[in-house]
């Protein structure tokens, strides 16, 4: 049922003239997801400026049983922030709530509003000589609220953990409009259930996060970035273990890149080039850091890589000598999605298994995929250090895109069944949204699903929060 005009007016009044968008051209960007998998519709995008306004919006929507879709930077990979196509849901953007409320360098914490762009949070920390370690390809546009709601991962999880590990407290508006002020700055607080972890990763289905208290770390002074050609994924896993042990767990990034990934980047992304003279089958990008300036890390890395070259597990390696080279190495890794997009149709997975099982998994999964689509070009790349790979396929050379994409369902099932056999996850960091609900129902433990539904029912009995997502 379409939302009554009088209610839309009331919602507009809550946020004032500068706080909403209702012209089709203004609304359009809020109705298409980043991957362009979904196209929704909405009569109204609200842009509240305060927690109080968010509270009044949710109270009204709860009374009137109107679905609410929270949106951050709209970089979700699973259509999590896109409203349904019937136009019966309103969108709430946090973009105008972007204050850093406070920063406490000696407590190593900061309190920021949900609409802060991730990069702004990183910069606020850097300004007081601290590090906020969450780092993703989308950091220039995704928002803290989106990072929290998707429990984002990224390229420093190995050292600092996922978003969940970087939070001490939250401020949340519940579906009925009540405000939970849980902005604790405590590292120790054993007083009952950990509510904060309910909202982190809930993808906007339990309430709207309006602010968070985040952990900070010492800013690294020494940063060593190496790009190495390795014999195979198994050599990569061995190298990671050695580097972790030798540096005292100072490895913050360890990314696996197959030759096909590097090919795509060099072919499609201007200004990129192969760091080596010869082609190799597999590469890793690794970064090690320390807040000490006198650190011997550089020597340790050089020694370990050299030993690995001598014993044949590493084929060749380069170490960035300046920031420009460091950025060039990172660009090779971060341009892979772009390269794959420009290469043509692709089928994607975001899976995780224990790191130690990855080499065997890559072999088995590749063989399985190639038996399903013989000429598909397989691209397993990403966060090897976290056991998380983006295990993608590109359409065969000269192959028909539509025919290839028609196989997606069958390929996903085969892939996720295999992942399940390895005790892995079918969605390691990108969440469920509207893309992977069937998989959630199929692979999640039935008891876990029951508890999730019970929680949803208790907090949001009218089902107004992000309907059609996750459960």
């Amino acid at each position: 049922m379409a939302i009554r005009a009088s209610i839309l007016d009331e919602l507009r009044r809550i946020v004032g003239p500068a706080g909403y968008l209702d012209q089709p051209s203004d609304i359009e960007p809020y109705t298409i997801d980043h991957r362009r998998l979904y196209r929704g519709a909405t009569p109204l995008v609200l842009r509240p400026q305060s927690t109080e306004e968010v509270s009044r919006i949710l109270r009204l929507c709860n009374e009137e049983r109107i679905g609410v879709v929270p949106i951050g930077g709209n970089t979700s990979y699973c259509g999590g922030a896109t409203p349904s196509a019937d136009g019966n849901q309103i969108v709430v953007s946090l973009a105008r709530m972007r204050r850093i409320r406070s920063i406490d360098p000696d407590n190593f914490t900061l309190i920021a509003e949900a609409g802060c762009v991730l990069q702004e949070v990183q910069e606020a920390a850097a300004a007081v000589d601290r590090l906020f370690p969450l780092s993703l390809g989308s950091e220039g546009s995704c928002q803290l609220g989106g990072n929290l709601s998707t429990n984002a991962g990224g390229t420093a999880v190995l050292r600092y953990g996922m978003m969940r590990d970087l939070v001490l407290g939250l401020e949340v508006v519940l579906p009925d409009g009540r405000i939970w002020d849980g902005l604790s700055q405590l590292r120790k607080d054993n007083t009952g259930y950990d509510l904060r972890n309910l909202f982190i990763g809930a993808e906007g289905t339990l309430g709207i996060i309006t602010a968070a208290s985040c952990k900070l770390f010492s800013r690294p002074r020494e940063l060593i970035t190496a790009f190495a050609a390795v014999a195979d994924p198994s050599a990569a896993v061995t190298l990671l273990s050695r580097l972790r042990a030798a540096t005292g767990d100072a490895v913050s990034t360890f990314e696996l890149i197959p030759r096909f990934g590097l090919d795509l980047v060099i072919r499609h992304v201007p200004g990129t080039s192969d760091p080596f003279d010869e082609a190799h089958s597999w590469y890793v990008l690794t970064e090690v850091s320390s807040a000490r300036t006198d650190s011997e890390l550089r020597e340790i890395i050089e020694r370990e890589l050299f030993a690995a070259i001598e014993n044949g597990t590493v084929r060749d390696a380069v170490i960035a000598q300046n920031e420009a080279q460091r950025e060039a190495f990172w660009r090779l890794r971060e341009s892979i999605p772009e390269g794959q997009r420009l290469e043509g149709a692709s089928i994607k997975h975001d899976i995780s298994v224990p790191t130690s099982a990855l080499p065997r998994f890559i072999e088995e999964a590749s063989a399985m995929l190639n038996s399903l689509v013989p000429d598909a070009r397989i691209l397993p790349y990403g966060h090897l250090g976290d056991g998380n790979l983006h295990f993608n396929l590109s359409v065969p050379v000269g192959g028909d895109a539509a025919q290839f994409m028609a196989r997606a369902g069958q390929i996903h099932s085969a892939m996720y069944d295999l992942v399940a056999r390895y005790g892995g996850s079918f969605s390691a960091e990108h969440g469920i949204g509207q893309l992977k609900r069937t998989e959630l129902a199929r692979y999640k433990h039935p008891v876990a699903l029951e508890v999730m539904r019970a929680i949803k029912q208790t907090l949001d009995p009218n089902g107004i929060m992000n309907p059609g997502k996750v459960l």
Binding site: P275, T293, F306, I309, D316, I319, N322
Partner: protein, 249 residues
């Protein structure tokens, strides 16, 4: 056969945003990433390519600076230089003094070419190469974007306001490098290990008997004015209205 001498300066990395010390006495360098001045890195790359083509027998890198400048010299050795000379100077030293030091090294090493960056990105002086050529009384080719050697001459393309100028100079000579001359190579691990064993000689400034008396005094360092924060407008109409109101349209 002939030698090439390359000068390398240790500077704050080109991609790091520099901060002025609160008392205005200079730029903060504590805990800041330092690298080879990018123009000098290009100079070294060019020297290595000349040597790899067989037109030079040895590449010597030299740096005037604090003990930490040895890190940049080691990087230079890892890129492929054969030897390094570190002239220790803890105080900041001006282009003329650096040119005098380099002249002493020229007298010792007798290079066919001295290659260096057209300027260092920290002080942007763009003087050392020119001063060195004058003191040495040899030709100079500055802002090189292409270098071709034949026998005892070099043909050098220079980027000037009106386009590309090509000149021919007699060697020995000083050549300073521009950004488009080449793209420096990455440093490979086996080369890094080899570089640890290459000779790096340290000289004290007074051993060279060079006058380094500063010729000018820096009064103050100040950061550029901070950019004003933007404002958000709701639509095109508001944008136009605001621009008009500020007299920008």
């Amino acid at each position: 056969m002939s030698k090439i001498l390359v000068a390398l300066k240790r500077v704050v990395d080109a991609n790091i945003r520099v901060r002025v010390k609160p008392d205005g006495s200079g730029v903060a360098t504590e805990g800041v990433k330092m690298s080879i001045n990018p123009f000098d890195e290009i100079a070294l790359e060019e020297a290595l390519r000349i040597k790899e083509k067989g037109a030079a027998a040895e590449v010597v890198v030299a740096s005037v600076g604090p003990d930490d400048a040895q890190q940049q010299l080691r990087t230079g050795l890892a890129m492929g230089a054969d030897r390094a000379i570190h002239v220790r100077a803890d105080q900041p030293i001006e282009p003329l003094a650096v040119a005098r030091v380099l002249l002493k090294l020229i007298e010792r090493e007798q290079p066919k070419i001295v290659l260096l960056g057209k300027q260092a990105i920290d002080d942007d002086n763009n003087q050392t190469g020119q001063m060195l050529a004058a003191l040495w009384n040899r030709p100079q080719a500055t802002f090189a974007s292409k270098v071709e050697l034949s026998g005892d001459t070099a043909r050098v393309s220079r980027e000037v306001d009106t386009g590309l100028e090509t000149i021919e100079i007699d060697l020995p000579a000083v050549i300073t490098t521009d950004l488009r001359l080449n793209e420096p190579r990455y440093v490979k691990l086996p080369e890094i290990m080899k570089a640890k064993k290459k000779p790096l000689e340290t000289l004290a400034l007074d051993e060279l008997g060079v006058d380094i008396t500063p010729q000018f005094k820096v009064l103050n360092y100040a950061p550029p004015p901070a950019r004003q924060k933007g404002i958000m407008v709701k639509d095109v109409a508001e944008l136009v209205a605001t621009l008009k109101q500020r007299g920008l349209l």
